[in-house]
Symmetry: C2
């Protein structure tokens, strides 16, 4: 089944809103082996939308459309669907009930524009919306499927998991090929170095596919195999995976598509260790990432964002003389912060970060991007210097990933890189 995703909205084209919907839909469709070959974005213009419907409907078996179903005047997707399929609008009472129920729950009056949202294309099966007012629609014609959903991510996501994916699976039946994918997450090694470490790529892959996906968090390696039967596919995948591990194992932190913070969470939980974090320059970024993991309260004891020097001294017990002699951005202060936060929290491990994220704050000998990270337990205290770039937000992300990787290695007893 060849699929295309259309996202509707000027706000996507002019970059005011990130197209997270296309990513979400692409991932879910790929997971059930639907071949998402292309996707596109079109503005809130009737002519452009109709042209795009026409072009993509001809070339694909499945068209998934999001956006432009809201209650305001600039939402024109429904009108376009009526024209494209030469159908009409009829009121759907289930949808009307849903809308009334939602407004009752939120203790708000149902407005005229919301009632109008219960009008749906006559030829469509309705996809009900449990999180908002705009219903989705599923249209089948000429042996093809056209799906439209609202652009609000949480509403679309709920429709995908509870209706679209189950119904598509049923349509697909037993697949002709088995396509398996596996993504290996690495960090701390540049793309080209990793590529060379893997040696002769044709030999390593033996017909499988391998994509390099670099980002500031590291390089992901995505292996893809396509075989007639599942057994062969699984063996092939495992073979390539093992070869990659043997060549670059040291840089791999996940083979289960887990973020570094999830990997660390499991390591801490398994070992029954408590973590405390002291952040200066990252301002809460690292703690936030760690606590994005559900259940993190089991191992994340507390975090101190010691932005001011006073807070470093008062809470973390950093020595005032050390601060005066070496400055807040120094390997000495990083060590004392890590040791201090561990002690006051009664935790097993302390992680600390101090640095200059920019654009301001540089001093003689201490440029923007200079960062010190330290990890301490009761026996070992490691600290490292890093030199990142000039962008404040990128620096926060890079620093966080480096700190988490130091933490992972510390827990596993892997030596830190030079």
């Amino acid at each position: 089944m060849k699929a295309h995703i259309i996202t509707i909205g000027d706000e996507i084209l002019i970059g005011q809103t990130l197209n997270t919907n296309a990513a979400y839909i692409g991932e879910r469709l790929s997971n059930i082996n639907i071949d998402v070959r292309t996707s596109s974005v079109v503005g809130d213009d009737e002519g452009d939308i109709l042209k795009e419907f026409d072009r993509c409907w001809k070339k694909n078996d499945l068209l998934v459309v999001t956006g432009g179903l809201g209650p305001t005047h600039d939402d024109i997707t429904r009108k376009c669907i009526i024209k494209f399929f030469k159908t009409e609008l009829i009121q759907n009472n289930d949808v009307l009930e849903d809308i009334k129920f939602l407004f009752e729950k939120r203790k708000r009056e149902v407005t005229k524009v919301n009632v109008d949202q219960a009008l749906v294309p006559k030829i469509a099966k309705v996809i009900r919306n449990s999180r908002g007012t705009a219903p989705g629609a599923w249209i089948e014609k000429d042996n093809k499927i056209f799906i439209v959903m609202p652009g609000v991510p949480s509403e679309m996501e709920k429709m995908m998991t509870s209706y679209v994916i189950p119904n598509l699976k049923e349509k697909l039946g037993v697949p002709e090929f088995t396509i398996l994918r596996k993504t290996i997450y690495t960090t701390g090694i540049p793309e080209s170095t990793l590529f060379e470490k893997l040696g002769d790529i044709e030999e390593l892959l033996n017909g499988a596919g391998l994509a390099f996906l670099p980002s500031i968090f590291g390089v992901k390696l995505r292996i893809t195999v396509k075989e007639k039967d599942e057994e062969t596919a699984k063996n092939k995948l495992s073979e390539v995976e093992q070869k990659i591990i043997s060549k670059a194992g040291r840089y791999i932190y996940s083979r289960d598509e887990e973020a570094l913070e999830a990997v660390i969470g499991k390591l801490l939980k398994d070992r029954n260790l408590k973590l405390a974090v002291a952040e200066s320059c990252t301002g809460g970024y690292v703690s936030n990432v760690l606590t994005n993991i559900s259940g993190s309260s089991e191992y994340f004891e507390r975090g101190i964002i010691s932005y001011s020097n006073a807070s470093k001294v008062e809470i973390l017990r950093v020595n005032e003389d050390t601060l005066a002699e070496y400055g807040a951005v120094s390997i000495e202060v990083a060590r004392q912060m890590a040791d201090g936060v561990k002690s006051i929290a009664g935790a097993d491990i302390g992680l600390a970060i101090t640095g200059i994220m920019g654009p301001g704050g540089a001093t003689a000998g201490k440029p923007v991007g200079l960062v010190y990270i330290s990890v301490c337990d009761d026996k070992v205290c490691t600290a490292k210097e890093f030199r990142f770039g000039e962008d404040r937000l990128l620096n926060k992300q890079r620093t966080s990933q480096a700190a988490l990787e130091m933490l992972r290695r510390h827990i596993l007893g892997i030596t830190q890189d030079e």
Copy 2:
């Protein structure tokens, strides 16, 4: 000038990577009044890429392509350009020097695959890359422009600001129309309620355009006017803006496309106020957002992530009896946290958040999504209850935005909503 953006990469299609590049490019092109009408994503497949080049080149004056220029075997964009424009590769010595310089700086060996990146399409002007190894290219043919850049965001962004935008501006010359846009940021009011508050939309707009952009952070209103001369455009824009302010001013926190944390930063700085933050459930999210603003160390004194009850008592001086009687997720504890963090930091304002982000952690009478937020200064201490949804990460974001909006209103003396 009609433009189309093509992003190349399977990782975008299957949702492993968010298409931030298309958003960035779309925004920058729109800012100089280039009409980005459509954009598309195509996978790492030569046939698909060449078809997409052909289709989009015919229909547009400007084509901007990113992705697939890296050093590994799955990067095939350069090969496709050579075929599409029927040209050849030649070595560019400036690029070779750039690559050598970059590797020297990073203290790494130049590898063969990197040297090959100095090969560029003969008919192209090279766009040099100061942040990575893959050069970009600018090709002019048949009175149209084709631009290709690497997919690594920081490299592409640097090329856009230092080369692509200045050169496009020069090409464009004096514009025929003046298109002006203004986006007004609101929060704390649903889209449909806001729509109804604005009344007769045709009358309000009088020919201007207005888009409603809802997200979990609030609803943005984007006004667009297109006029022959700049003076008329400016007046029209200002007229619509004033009408919107008169009808929904209370919910507007920015008319300069500033995030709420940037608005708050200015308010604190102007009034010379120091802020301290105590977070439980948000785990550092709010402090991180506040410290994303450059110069925030002037007003952000410290943050305490009091995840454990022990940390609430030891650092924030929350009363143990209050904790036992009302529980950590209570309006009483929120107030004590806000007051406590303000006192220990010697700050003017304390902001505190406690709640249940889910999916675990719910207890009898305290469901997932329950949040208490408090803002205190030396005279006034406000606290409010919120009930958000079930998704952990969305809850963190919603809670943060609600906390910042309470803080904004507190500073400005605007009464909090019921």
